[in-house]
Structures are given as structure tokens and as C-alpha cells.
Amino acid sequence: MIRRVALGLLLLVVLAVALPSSVGAQGQPTLRWGSRGTSVRLAQRKLQAWGYYKASVDGVYGRRMYAAVILFQRRNGLRADGVVGPATWRALGYTGRAARGGGGRPARGAARSDDVDLLARVISAEARGEPYEGQVAVGAVLLNRVRDSRFPNTVAGVVYQTHAFESVSNGSIYGPPAASARRAARDAMNGWDPAGGAVFFWNPSKPVSRWIWSRPIIKRIGNHVFAR
């Protein structure tokens, strides 16, 4: 029992370390006194909304901006140096790679990377040990389901659909994904579909419902059969 708790804690630590770095906080440039541009405007807008910055959003890092940053950093347990580096950006809520010249709304790049992460977990849990092609194919099946009228409309909806995937039912999806699974997830997101439009896959050596064999089979890859 204690062992399991320890393992769980370890997993949490691994996730906590792995997640922010996978999202990447390096999207925003470091800002200091004298910086100009849209990034400054971004930070000013945020600080203004939270009541730290009282002057106008002009895209220039001046005296009042400096005071606002120092105050923000002090209140959020950051080093109060007036420099908006990765830690301060994170505290401001900009973790993803923001669009270059993007406005105040979060870039879609971050949302895409969430989907890649989720996809990679399922691929890792469902197709570990399969050929790379088979891993991309599993990712493609999930994305084909998103586009299919018989299934939910979001990646998360498809993944967590009740009893849809064994790895979700038995919890193996919550482990960290293998590196090849991440790459496979990205290829699938970019449109590669070795499954040829399939929305079902199963391992014929395991017991499955008879209904599933009635689906038109497209292809076999490794240990999996893919069907529409």
C-alpha cells in the first residue's frame, strides 16, 4: 500500500516536472526596462486587468510598468527584479508558445499540444511495442472518430468515452507516454493516416465482441486489425 502511494507520488512528481517543460515557456521574450513591442503590451494588458498596472497599454516598458512588475513579483513569490522572464511569464498565465505578434488571447498552439499529449498517452498505452506505422494508425483512428458522426467531437471526448478504450478503463493511459508515441501523435495530428480512415481497431488474439468483426476491415498492422 505504502509502496503504491510512493509510486503514485513519484508519478505525480514526474508529471509535474514533465508537463510544463513539454508545453514550453520559452515562447515569450524576456522583458526589462526599455523593452518595446507587442509582448510588453501583452504583459501590460494582463497586469492592468489584475490591477497592478494603472497607466495606458502603450507597449513601452517604462517607470510605471517597472513598479507594476515589481509589485506583481513580490505578491506572487517571485524574485522582485523587474525582469519579466520565463517564471514571471508563467505567473502571468503565458505558458504556451504565444503567437508572434499575437493579441491577448491564448494561442491555439497550446491547445494543439494538449491534444498531442493526450493522443500520445493513448498511443503509448494501446500500441506499445507495435511498429511505428501501427502507432500512428492508432492516433489516426482517434482523430477519425472525432470527424465521424457516430463518435464525440473532441479528442478528449473520444479518448474518455465510456469503455471505448481499454487503456482508459484499466488506467494505463495515465502513465507517461513513450517518445515514439509523441512523434506518432504529431504525425497523426498532421494528417498521416496509415489506418486508411478506420474508426475501430482491435487485437484479434484478445476476446472482442462479435459485432466488431462485422465492420469492413481496411488493413492489418502488427497485432491490430483496423476497420471502418
Partner: protein, 468 residues
Amino acid sequence: MRTKAFWIPVGLLAAVALAVWGVWTWRLGTANRDLSLSLEAERQRNFADIAYHVEQIQSLMGKGLVTGTPQGNMRYMSEVHQHAQAAVANFMELPLPSELSSATGKFLQQTGDFANSLMRAESTGREMDAATRAELARLQQESQNLSAQLQTITAQYNQGGFRWNPPVQLTWATLWRGAQLPGKPNAEPQAPKSILPGGWNQVGTAMEKLPVMVYDGPFSDHVGQRTPATLGPLVERPEAERRLSQTVPNMGNLRINGVTDVAGPLPAYSFQLAPNGTPAGPGYTATAEITKHGGRLLQLLNSRTIGNPTVDLARARTLGQEYLNTIGYTGMDATYGQAIEGTATIAYALRENGMLIYPDQIKVQIALDTGEVIGVDARQYLMAHHNRTAPQPRISPQEAEERVNPDLQVQRAQLTMIPNQSGTGEILAYEFLTNFGDDTYLVYINAETGGEEQVLQQVETDGGTFAL
């Protein structure tokens, strides 16, 4: 002979162990019951919400039929779309076996999608015609039927005391076989059906019988039935193998480890490729697919490891284009591209008669260490490509530009062919690259009707450009 002094402590220990075990079991039982009750509440809420949303859908569709103006209809269709979306989200959560659920899920999806496509058509000035009106009336009737059936199921739940997730009882059956849950994937298909109230079977059967629905939306029934527009004659396997050596880069260093057949709308030979020098066996690192008709490269996927980048995105664009030329996909223009973790993914579209044809799209992946092409995806191109006549737009570029929101600064305009909502048809449209504040948007104005077909946001990231 053992004495009392031995048996008393042993007996006490056993009693304590039994008591501890008993308390544990009791606690686990309580936790099990709490969990199953909270899950039950969630499932019942899902079900009750579906019944509510379907009821709303049928009443809103009725109003949409009755209202006298397109604006009124649009308002009701927008509400139908919302309720259908919510019903889909709730429905997909229910643990129903696929043979019962897929037709119903599809019906709800298509209802929302149909309402949405109607709304889009009306927003670009096309009014409902008689056929669409009849389809809407039919859908209203079907929703009414579904609504009534859902009420029957609710009654059956209440009478039979049905539970989605009954707490696991300590019975001999549970001890031997474990708990049976509805919709569990690997169980025998009969078991879950027998657990569900009979009303579900009726819904499933009724939904299976619904006619095919065709409209301009991504969930329309004709989308899955697409066939390639044009393809060449049947190619035998040896010929396909010969094409392989002409199309796959670095084929000299690869050996064919196996071939499988791919069925579906684009039948193909799938060649499994392994690098020369690797031990013999079924393992492979790359796959290349050659279509059975026409013998063209459908897909390439190479998972080789990638070293430090020496090639930049701009160079990769050119390399990809040159490669496409050599394998017979000529006239392709790079549209957008991204470089992530040593690999560039670039989308190309056909340029013909000065017009950019987005449906004829091929994606190429380039390893940025050596510039080698490691991925190709020509599925869209092969499905959509056909001989097109020179475009004859009815509206001039100037007239189209007048339709663009005056707050936007137009940077560039060109004539394009874009896919329609369902992705099966094409629309001739002017593409305007515009700036709005710091953001870049692509605005598409229909070159026949002048209607605004689509707005895309172009996002620039550190890795490249893509459109939303």
C-alpha cells in the same frame, strides 16, 4: 501437545485479524457504494439531459418550420444546433454497446450539423428550398419519435429500478465471474443488452432504419462514401514495387520486408521497409503505400531517428517541391509549414491556371538534418484531383474586395478553389490575406455569389505558420 497458553494468543490474533479484515471490507464496500452512486447520478443526469435536449430540438424545429422569415429560422436553427451538440456530448457518455448507440449518436450529430448547414446557407443569402423544408419536417418527426421513446425508457427505468452502475454485490456470481457492467467492451454482446431496459433496443432498431441524409456538412452521409475523382488503370504488385524504387527517397538503402493490402476508398499496396544491414525479421521502420489504381505514391512514413538540424524551413520548402516534381506531382505550391523537433511538415496545393486549388493538397515531411523526405501524405490530392476547366468568376476581384470588412487591411488577393463544408465539393473564391490589428486573417469571398464563405486566422509560431 499444545497448551491453552498457545491457543489463546493465536485465537486472539486470528480474531483481531478477522476484525481488521471485516472493517476493511466494510470500508471498501462503503466506498464502492459511494462511487457507484456518484457515477449513477452522472449517468442519470446524462440521460435526463438527452431527453430534455431532444424535446427542445423537436419543438424548435417546429418553430423553424412555422416562422415566416429566414432570420427567424436562423435563430431557431442556431438553438437546435446548440441543443444537438449538448445532446451528443451527453449521449456519448452513456455506456451503451456500439450496436445500440452508433445510429442514435449519428442521428443527433446529423441533426445539429444539418441545422448548422441550414444556418450557414441562410447567412449567405440562400433561402430554404422545398426539399430542405421537407427534410427539416422529417427530422422534426424523427426527433418527436425519439423524444417519445426516451420518455418510455425513463418510465422503464423508474418501474424496473434500473441502474447503470449497480454497486457490486457480494454474490457467488460476482465471486466467480466479476461484475457485469453495461456496455463493457470485451463482454459478450448479449449480456449488456439484456441488462438495459427494452426501450433501448427499440431506439436502436428505429434509428438503424432512418434514411440516408445528404447535405453540406461534415457529418453528412455522403462524406464517408467518397470515391477518388480520377485514378489510372490497375497496377500489379511487381509494377508497384518498381514504382516504389522510383518514388521512395533513399530506397537503395532499404529492403522490402513485407507487403499488405489496404482496402477502403483508396485500395493500395502497403510495403514495409527496413534499413539494409538490420537483422532479418518482421521489424520495419518505414511504410510506403502505392495505390492499386494508377500506381501513385499515397503515403510514406519513415520513423528514422533525426539528428541535429542543418536545413531551415525555407530550404525544406524547396526540397519538398523538387521531390514532388520528381515523383509526378507537378505544379505544387507550398502553402503553410511548421518545423517541430527536427522535422518540417509542409502542405502543398496545386496551382493551375493561376488559381490555388486547396482540395488538391499533399503534405510532405522533411528531416531537417539531411533534408531527406521522410513523409508524404497524398490522400487528399488523390481523392480530390480531377481535370478542371479554367475558372470563370462572375465577380471581379475589385467587387469581391468591396465585400471584405473595411476594418481589415488587404495585403494580397488571389483566386482559389476551397473545399465546401462537407469537404466533398468545391467553391471558387477569392482569398484575401488581411491584417486586423496585430493578427492576420484569410477571408474567402465566393467568386460566383459574392457571399463570405469562410474566415481563417493565420497563426505564426516559432515553428512556422498554420491556419485555423
